[in-house]
């Protein structure tokens, strides 16, 4: 059975919503996975008792240190090995779990995964965050959603490769349509680094469809949208902002379209973001996660681990890097 480590103290509303989400997850997906909650043992056990949970699909590993949301990532990693966040990644390094999930300090989670799990390919310099995003049609994959800044063109190509493998394994796309996010469709448009990446991508075996603009992204014209971590983060937060505004103005509209929109655009159903190109499965859930979001992040972690997304990305990257 897949075992998933979950940072009990991660997120704005931890540990309450994390415990709640963990219990929902094991109830909703009974028999599929076991959750190892990492955090202050007594507090967690008391919390689980309050929720009336006494099954054996959840266990607890004591990790009393606390990492603040704005703590420096490397400091947090070095000084707080006994935090829930670092522990849940450490357990995966030791082979005791197959995936690690945290809604805590995302920089610290990235640093922990990078340092403890390592890159799946030494030539894959800068692992990006892959995040599934809503569109007018199906879900697409945005890469990088915010792990990196000031990337070179070759790094954007790595993002594209990792993103395509992810889309194949997880979104079930065959030959995913991969595109660069740009300010026009023409080859010679946009920043120098994007123009350079365009030329490099033309020469890969990926199904590169060229540039897409912001409208095309929303319209669902690409399955994998490649951009810098900076731009990706702006895009991701705008999508969240749209949804929140829509909900505030109109609530969930009682039509089939309205329900589908609410389901697809609610960030809680995203299942968190996956760090691509690592020896393992590290999920960064939203800091504002509620119990539903935690449940979905755990379930996504299970799916990634079960379908061996990380291993497949590693193999594919090796192929591309050799070719």
């Amino acid at each position: 059975m897949i075992r998933i480590a979950l940072d009990a103290l991660g997120g704005d509303n931890a540990p309450e919503v994390v415990l709640n989400g963990a219990v929902s997850a094991v109830n909703a997906y009974e028999g599929k996975f076991h959750i190892v909650l990492c955090g202050p043992k007594e507090e967690i056990e008391e919390g689980l008792k309050k929720l009336g949970y006494n099954g054996d699909a959840i266990s607890v590993v004591d990790a009393p240190d606390r990492i603040a949301m704005d703590e420096h990532p490397i400091d947090a990693l070095r000084k707080k090995p006994n935090s829930g966040l670092v522990t849940c990644v450490g357990l995966q390094k030791k082979g005791l779990v197959q995936a690690s999930v945290s809604a805590g300090n995302s920089g610290a989670m990235m640093a922990s995964c990078l340092m403890l799990l390592g890159r799946s390919n030494e030539n894959f310099a800068r692992p990006p965050i892959g995040c599934t995003i809503p569109t007018a049609k199906n879900r697409a994959l945005l890469v990088d959603a915010g792990a990196n800044v000031d990337e070179k063109a070759s790094v954007l190509v790595d993002f594209a490769i990792a993103g395509c493998v992810f889309a194949e394994c997880y979104l079930g796309c065959e030959k995913p349509r991969v595109a660069l996010l740009n300010m026009g469709e023409e080859e010679k448009k946009g920043p120098a680094v994007i123009q350079e990446a365009y030329q490099l991508l033309k020469n890969t075996s990926l199904n590169f469809i060229g540039n897409v603009e912001g409208r095309d992204l929303i319209a669902g014209k690409a399955d994998v949208i490649v951009c810098s971590g900076y731009t990706g983060n702006v895009v991701l937060k705008m999508l969240e902002g749209f949804y929140e505004m829509h909900q505030e103005l109109f609530g969930t509209i009682d039509t089939p379209e309205g329900k589908r929109f609410a389901q697809m655009w609610d960030y809680r159903f995203t299942g968190g973001a996956l760090l691509l190109g690592l020896n393992g499965t590290g999920i960064i859930a939203h800091g504002r996660s509620d119990a539903k979001a935690i449940e979905q992040a755990v379930y996504a972690a299970y799916q990634y681990a079960e379908s061996k997304v990380a291993e497949k990305i590693g193999l594919k990257l090796a192929e591309y890097k050799q070719a």
Copy 2:
């Protein structure tokens, strides 16, 4: 009376929608401005006759050359001085009109305005496109919406200055809240150029509120949002795409919120984008403009010219550049 030159052949649906929009504009805002339609004279006069227009608020200047939407901007400017686009800017240079509007090739419009009208301040190297955008609250100003790429930090500061003057004159903001679009709120977040611009902006007298993320932009936390032309264009197109998707899924929702949303988010009411930092008023309307969009772009041109936005930006830039 303010005189506005309008490129009759600009846009995907020209000249029909342009003539239609021109007639709507002079009818809706009677007595406020005169429109000079620039394009093939016979064709335009026939079109106006078909629309039943025989007033004196519209005149025609013959400009038979045609610029394609994908034609190289500089080529278009050099080789087609007798196009509607170049003519409508040329008339402004000669002092015969106070504003120029085109929904045609936006690169050619930018090049024409830059070459023919010139910069209002020689130190203001790279005039940006300022575009008002919808938010969950009021309209805000996005700058640069796509005129430039690969800007230096000092250029982003110029964008901020021009944007603030625009927001004061046109959106009626006192001490507009100006922010950098970034992937986090912290000073040390994001690409190197954004971090550098942050430090420069702290030392201006602008009401700089720091970084905003994509969600904050939608939530209306800033009046002037400063970013690279690349990112700004992605943002602008996403806002359009979101509105289009919303309309397709739900139509205009029959509540006060629904009507307000439809009014504010419909790109046709944007009034086109203004080139900031020039000796004159050049408006780039959307290539997909319909008659309503043309009408609104003409009206915006009138407002810009009437309230002397371009002159005020020039003066303010001179102040800042001297200080």
